[in-house]
Point group: C2
Chain length 580, copies 2
Amino acid sequence: MQINLHQTHHTIADFSEIFSYLEQQDNDGVFSNSINLFPELFLCGYPLQDLLLTREFIVNYCDLLDKIKLWWSSKPRSNSVLLLGGLSYEIREEIPYAIQNVVYELSENENLKEIYTKCLLPSYDIFDEAKYFTPGNKAIVWKYQDLKFGILICEDMWFSPHYKIDPVKELFEVSKDQKLNGIFNFSASPFYLGKEKSRINRASQISQQFSNCPFYYVNRVGSEDEIIFDGGSFHCNHEKVLSKALSFKEDMVTCTISEAKEINGNYLEDVAAHSFETLFRTQLDYTLEPPQLKKLEDSDYECILHALNLSIMDYADKIGAKKFLVALSGGIDSALVLTLIKLFLRDDQEVEAVYMPSQYSKGLSYDICKELCDNLEVKLTTQSIKFLHSAIRNSFSENFVELSGLADENIQSRIRGSLIYARSNQNGSIVINTSNKSELAVGYSTLYGDSVGAISPLGDLYKSEVFELSKYINKKFENLIPQEVISRPPSAELKENQEDSQSLPAYEILDAILEGYLSYKYDAQGLIKLGFLENDVNKVLKLNNFSEYKRKQFCPIVKLKAKSFGFGRRIPITKKAPRR
Amino acid sequence: MQINLHQTHHTIADFSEIFSYLEQQDNDGVFSNSINLFPELFLCGYPLQDLLLTREFIVNYCDLLDKIKLWWSSKPRSNSVLLLGGLSYEIREEIPYAIQNVVYELSENENLKEIYTKCLLPSYDIFDEAKYFTPGNKAIVWKYQDLKFGILICEDMWFSPHYKIDPVKELFEVSKDQKLNGIFNFSASPFYLGKEKSRINRASQISQQFSNCPFYYVNRVGSEDEIIFDGGSFHCNHEKVLSKALSFKEDMVTCTISEAKEINGNYLEDVAAHSFETLFRTQLDYTLEPPQLKKLEDSDYECILHALNLSIMDYADKIGAKKFLVALSGGIDSALVLTLIKLFLRDDQEVEAVYMPSQYSKGLSYDICKELCDNLEVKLTTQSIKFLHSAIRNSFSENFVELSGLADENIQSRIRGSLIYARSNQNGSIVINTSNKSELAVGYSTLYGDSVGAISPLGDLYKSEVFELSKYINKKFENLIPQEVISRPPSAELKENQEDSQSLPAYEILDAILEGYLSYKYDAQGLIKLGFLENDVNKVLKLNNFSEYKRKQFCPIVKLKAKSFGFGRRIPITKKAPRR
């Protein structure tokens, strides 16, 4: 016997694709003489949100279960086990009163038997599991032939004091008089930087608590709107990782079954950082004066490239788009987005770049766009908005309104938003958004203007990280991105000689304040104590509060960090708070 | 002694406003010889979402509690009780591990003592309370002098089988050997049509179960983004409503205290429609052939007027806007929105209407806008987009792209979106969205075009209800809305002789299918069985699925129904589903 970790990549609710995968693996003999672990909610996908409550979904899901039962019973199944993450519905009079997140067993003894229910339902940040699921409350030891395994589903291994029970501790209690061959964790664990390391650390810690018992972790892969599942399934014990699946790709890992372990001694209260607590880190790692954002490493940027690749390609594939469209400005954000798309592009896909200069655009901006597109071998179209801008100004003048200030700046951005979407409509491409996290945080963008797009690859990277990622790409791919766009001062180019630094603190300051405010939950006083200028802090916090309405109408932001804008951060627009 | 129901109207997190209210009422002698009930979470507002987890909010909230304690202890407080909804934080090492939704007592005996914790945490639809709160699990009888009362917080009175305990039943158990003078319910209960009636029915039912014990219900009033709290606090027993506060307005009701009631007999399992179940109604009330949307009554439309009034005015006041801007098209939606704003307008506010005809706009459209604005005495500005539209076409032609079909239609809508926002930027007004629920459901609108706006008053009304509400207003206010706009066939006027009926089923069919699909959770097969044409059903469901990405970027929709688009309906964009 061996253990196979099936790190699968399916579209949510694509039940025929899911069934085909099982059939195919079966036909290929993969299930013979093996215990096959499939990710949390493998049978339906995750996160499903309100799809879980729609009749269409429920009917199709139940049909899948019936189909699987029939298929499984169609031939003898000795020495072949599947443990599959799925849903269990309790429906009374067509109303789903309880839904559980469970593991099903398929074996010679069982045909889709629920063997375990997830106990810890994460409901912080992007998670809403308590909204949909009814928790389990019981640890079990699963037995097959003479083998014994502990079972956990995802969050179950991340106890935090806000939960009522610790499933790892419960498992320890129920298994301490038995020899365990291993512990299984079935996951659909969203990616953010550093997450993989913390999963392996935590698994290794649990292995230690269970006398170096092997730990088998199987994770989903794929991207759903803003959430990436990075896979990276692994088999480890306390000492080392014994085998590991690819990250960000479908994969299968075959693991050996070790000798059974007697569980010794007492359960040690663990000291790990829990999943929930990462949202309330209380100590900022600001070691330089003035406080600065902690720099990411090259390995982080490499990881970000893979994450963005999976996310953007999955989004396009799942909505059925083959063409991408990027509006270049001559600035770093759009240059980086175009470069990323080009790096990710498959042979069956296309990308087009459009540069839409106004009267305020500098010659350098065009030169940058041209050089970038030459480097990338991407077609560049230039479509000036000068005439349209003056036509709109005239149209207002005729009505005795003179566009000025912000109105005159924003209209340029909105003309571009309109033009890029006209092009997208005409050629069936999807527009990739180019906003970064710093802009989003302070509302330094035009709603329906430069903030448009189907999905935002940079919305979780601060401006300073956008620069660093660009430099990393240039190191890796021989200066694809023109040096001038990295060295020139950022500007929206919506009025004469405009530079971002006229409206905002320098980005290294802005980004450090934002990280302290958003990820570390510092308030204004706390930030000022850290060494930031009171003026800067107050300005940034006011801008952040005031721009909530813009973020409400923003497209999905690819999540790369523990704390991101989007579905994982829900702040009312109408509240008492400092105003501009 | 008497009981005062304080139906308060405050901005969330406006702690100084909240404290001032208490001080003012105290100075006015309102608290003397009375028990004063304040709504659920009165001390902070609701819903707070992630504000609950920000340090700024926590610090300011705790400051308020300290300030209240000091104020309460500053003078003798005999025969004066305040029962206030608020939060109780359990914080360890600056991390909020548990937050409870509680009632505090202020009296001569107690200074902000937590006396009860909410047991049922609604987490369906717009509600996310299990995400933030730790539930209570104990019913109590609250005693003051020789008076005894049962306590419930909002959802506690709406037991449904998906909850583990029934707080009303628990209350029955703990109070059956005691004489009760009444039952208090502290609510922050969101409005939708029919909600007030169901609250009173349920309270009356509970009163019956408790031997006709008086029921005191105090509700919050005000509007937060998309959610309206309608007030309507009341005092009832099984036989009748004894007193009732205004709906949609701040108010205070003074009630008498009745003689204590001995609780008799057994608790009757109630048969009421529960709050959760309204989202899964299984029987469509389609009595006509072919199935038709159930018609709302005049009293519903009157209620909708009040609800929209509160919502739009609260939104504007809370973000500090004094000017409104509406883009008129010559169609019914925008005509109705302008009429509503004008009806709601206060003396310190202004509204402006803009008509932006294209080459496809009919003369009748202008005539309608003109007549409407004359009727309403609103300034109408006409700003043609003909020239801009052809300038954009030319700009593309120069790049060898001919705008056609959808691209050419959408660009007209986006020019209008850009122009209306330029005007809004220039004069500091907020743009009121004009989309209706039918359009939103099938994506019959242009993203960043006619879908723009700060808030959507009609996004929860089907097109047929938009017509009915317009007719109701015309009946009430002497034909404010020109008859022609009600009788002409709906058209986007984005190409020659376009009518909505060319792309969509007739609205009475479309709306009935949508209501069956969205509110009653029928799937395609179920709808076809009801009598709808298979073609219509498939088309509508495909369009609905395909347009999820548009709804994700839409502004807050004022919630008027049990099932609305927006925060209460969360469907992933990337999923397996029928595509166009």
